[in-house]
Amino acid sequence: MPYVPHTDDDVRRALAAIGVDDVDDLFADVPAEILDPPLDLPEPMDEVALLAHLDALAALDQQAVPTFLGGGVRRHFIPAVTPRLAMQGEFVTAYTPYQAEVAQGVLQSTFEFQTMMSELTGLPIANASMYDGASAVAEAALLAVRQTHRETVMVSRAVHPETREVLQTYLWPLDIDIEVVDLEPSLTTPVPAVGDHVAALIVQDPNHLGYLEDMPAMAAAAHAAGALLIAVVDPLALAVLREPGSYGADVAVGDGQVLGVPMQFGGPAFGFMVVTDGLLRQLPGRLVGQTSDVDGRRAFVLTLQAREQHIRRSKAKSNICSNHQLAALLATVNMAALGPTGLREMAEGTVRRAHQLAAALRAAGADVAANERFFAEFVLRTRAEGATVRRRLAKRGVRAGVPVPAEYGIGNGVTLAATELTTDADVEALLAALHDVGELGVVGTEVVA
């Protein structure tokens, strides 16, 4: 089913109009020695067989069980109305809105998105989205380098390890140095001494292990050295936590999955970047602006494109072209559905459920890290290695435990996340499973399973 409408008659009619005898004549420019190689692909399936095949694969994957996984992606409430509206064919099958007169749907909803991201972060200018949080952080670092003409960035070790790896990949070819700030025993970032060779200080709040950072102090330390503060934020947390604009962050970046995008094994969600007015000309990615049409009606259009690759080519601020518009639309509709109250309730529910979980674990004799200032997740020290604990819990029907990497120096451990969707029954299931695998209580021998 190649979705091709051509009948044999159509093909004959088209060939006659073109003035060739055979479709292969149209491929005459392709060197004969490389045309039509044998392709060893599986035999095609019809619709019913395909879905049966996918069902069989999906059955091997743990879904819809109690879930306590975080580390950048979480299961949150997504009302039914959100995907129904955002995934309408008109949005799903549109291209980049280059013909504004017939693309007001995408353009206006993107303007609404930019407004919402600006409101959440307290910074004025949001772009139309990036690929994901990690690449947005890397792009933010490049922005800081362009803006300050300095060639070092400083990053907290509590920034998500994968984000730091992406940062490293992006900065390596440009010879930009990375200085890493180590953590305190509280698993938070000390206010570092920022040198005047530093373009930006990058701090994640809440950090990768879940804990809140002293962001106003970070901003002061960065600014005293003439560096930018890049705040890597959880946009749902910003329904309750102080917003980057309020403490003087220059750039707020992050991943939008928690705002209404299904987990999908980690993608696609979207990245966002929101900056101060002074950084507008350095901003990568698409921007939608408000204007009017010849009849004086308000209308929206892609603007300030001279920053972008299709105009500026090798001098562009970034090579980004396609972004993650449809995922950003999911977030836009979702925030509009929830409103300020619903979003706050989700954030509060997340904080309360996470704190209740930590208390329940402590009560059951688990070794929960001491820091109480966490948003959705926190560290549990474990007897077995983190990945082993995770596998043992999975066997007992619970998805929990992102392993804490060795670089944090806490020995064996995992992070556990709760959200507003966590139920008392979920917590019971986790406690029972942890008990089963010998991670609760002061006594007990290693259980192997």
Partner: protein, 480 residues
């Protein structure tokens, strides 16, 4: 005429569409400390569910789409996006990237087999599914080439990436992001890269050559094997921008053309939806000598299990978090598994047939074809003398069809780049050609016709100058 409202301008304080489960308990100040909290709530919309539904349904109606009508944007491959693929993707929504891999064997098997099938289709040895879009794949590929040259002790020497002057903007922009200088080579009178200029540009400083084949004029580079030999003779690596693979998918492979690295735009050839600008998905394939540099992790098979292999010491590292745009990878997998090799051959065959048919029809309608010869999946036309492409594009909007890509590639004046794709019928192409002829006829009869178009779209021509001079990039809530 009144303005179409923003979602912020609908509803009333206190309304909302959706309620999450609510958990009571300690206050945020008690749990997190007063100083951690924001002072004022974000000003988000407060609308009822029906307000919300009407708002985004009406916005959808103000949006052109493939589902709605013909959308022949050159270089974009606006083919039909099967509804079946949406059902396919829904089966894998609740998977967490950090769940135990032993309990994610189904999705890992799917990704593993997709790596294998994309390697087969492109003629490459290994595939990474990680890049998020075409441009992201380009950066991945050029960084791998950089790492390869550095490992060979040629990192300092090789400073230049060569692109044709017709290249897409992401190609030179990518080369810059990877720390390279860009050298452009001209297009010859036949619409192919000027081979003498190309060979003269190659040298010991060349790191990579970035090409797409067919090129951005829709013309197949007949001398590709010679170009590849010449590039390799000076130690350069050949990069294939896969944006135009729809022309040859199933029938010719970049690997066989001599390319060392290729990225695919799954949102073009493999019909994952464009989503109003993204998410795309840009897997990268390489020949064996570059495989050690692929980003981590790869999906690998160990015995009877699938694993995420991140222990690859020569890897360039990660390009993004997690494993890729998995939702779209599932869609592309569904496409390949339902088409098979024969189906893919038919895709490119009919894409090329349709494009040549429309070329002939547009010529009959009075357009000039830049480099008039048999083309592949797309071609570049020009309007009759004295008319502007922009005006014709706007007039087309009044006829309910979408214009072609305009003013790209930059090397053709008033360029109109047309790519009908294989999923359109000849009736649709005939109607488009007839509409174009009608637009020319009316333009000749009445000069105001073009200047005032479009008349019937949700909004008419926009003041783009003011948008850029006095940027308004967010709603002001009446107080900005």
């Amino acid at each position: 005429m009144s303005d179409f409202p923003l979602v912020f301008e609908r509803g009333a304080a206190g309304r909302r569409a959706a309620r999450p489960p609510v958990t009571d308990g300690a206050s945020m100040a008690e749990l997190l400390g007063e100083e951690a909290l924001r002072a004022d709530p974000p000003r988000l919309p407060e609308v009822s569910e029906l307000d919300l539904v009407r708002h985004y349904t009406q916005l959808a109606h103000r949006q052109f789409s493939i589902d709605g009508n013909f959308y022949p944007l050159g270089s974009c491959t606006m083919k039909y996006n099967p509804k079946l693929h949406e059902d396919a993707a829904e089966r894998f929504l609740d998977l967490h990237p950090y769940q135990d891999p032993d309990h994610a064997q189904g999705i890992l098997a799917l990704l593993h087999d997709l790596q294998r099938d994309l390697a087969t289709i492109t003629g490459m040895d290994a595939i990474s599914l990680q890049p998020a879009a075409g441009a992201h794949g380009e950066l991945t590929g050029i960084l791998m080439i950089r790492a390869y040259h550095e490992a060979n002790g040629e990192g300092e020497q090789r400073r230049v990436v060569i692109c044709p002057d017709g290249a897409h903007g992401t190609n030179p922009a990518t080369a810059s992001m990877a720390g390279y200088d860009v050298v452009e080579v001209p297009t010859g009178p036949d619409g192919e890269v000027d081979i003498e200029a190309f060979e003269a540009a190659l040298g010991p400083d060349t790191a990579a050559v970035m090409l797409t084949n067919p090129n951005t004029l829709g013309i197949f580079e007949r001398r590709i094997l010679r170009m590849s030999e010449a590039a390799h003779a000076v130690g350069a690596q050949l990069y294939y921008d896969g944006a135009n693979l729809n022309a040859v998918v199933g029938r010719a492979r970049p690997g066989d053309m001599g390319f060392d690295v290729v990225h695919l735009n799954l949102h073009k050839t493999f019909t994952t939806p464009h989503g109003g600008g993204g998410p795309g998905t840009g897997p990268v394939g390489v020949k064996a000598h570059l495989a050690p540099y692929l980003p981590v992790p790869l999906v690998a098979r160990e015995g009877d299990r699938y694993v995420l292999d991140a222990e690859r010491p020569r890897s360039i590292g990660r390009m993004r978090s997690f494993y890729g745009n998995v939702g779209n990878l599932v869609r592309a997998y569904a496409y390949i598994r339902t088409l098979g090799a024969e189906g893919l051959r038919r895709v490119s065959s009919m894409a090329v047939l349709n494009a040549n048919y429309l070329r002939v029809k547009m010529k009959e309608a009075g357009f000039t074809i830049a480099f008039d010869r048999v083309n592949m999946h797309e071609f570049v036309a020009q309007p009759p003398a004295g008319m502007r492409t922009l005006d014709i594009a706007k007039a087309l909007l009044d006829h309910g069809v979408h214009p072609m890509t305009v003013y790209f590639p930059l090397i053709v004046k008033e360029a109109m780049m047309v790519e009908p794709t294989e999923t359109e019928s000849l009736e649709t192409l005939d109607a488009y050609a007839a509409t174009l002829a009608e637009v020319l006829r009316r333009a000749e009869a009445d000069p105001a016709y073009l200047a005032e178009a479009p008349r019937h779209t949700p909004v008419r021509r926009l003041d783009e100058t003011t948008a850029a001079r006095k940027p308004v990039l967010r709603h002001g809530f009446g107080d900005l």
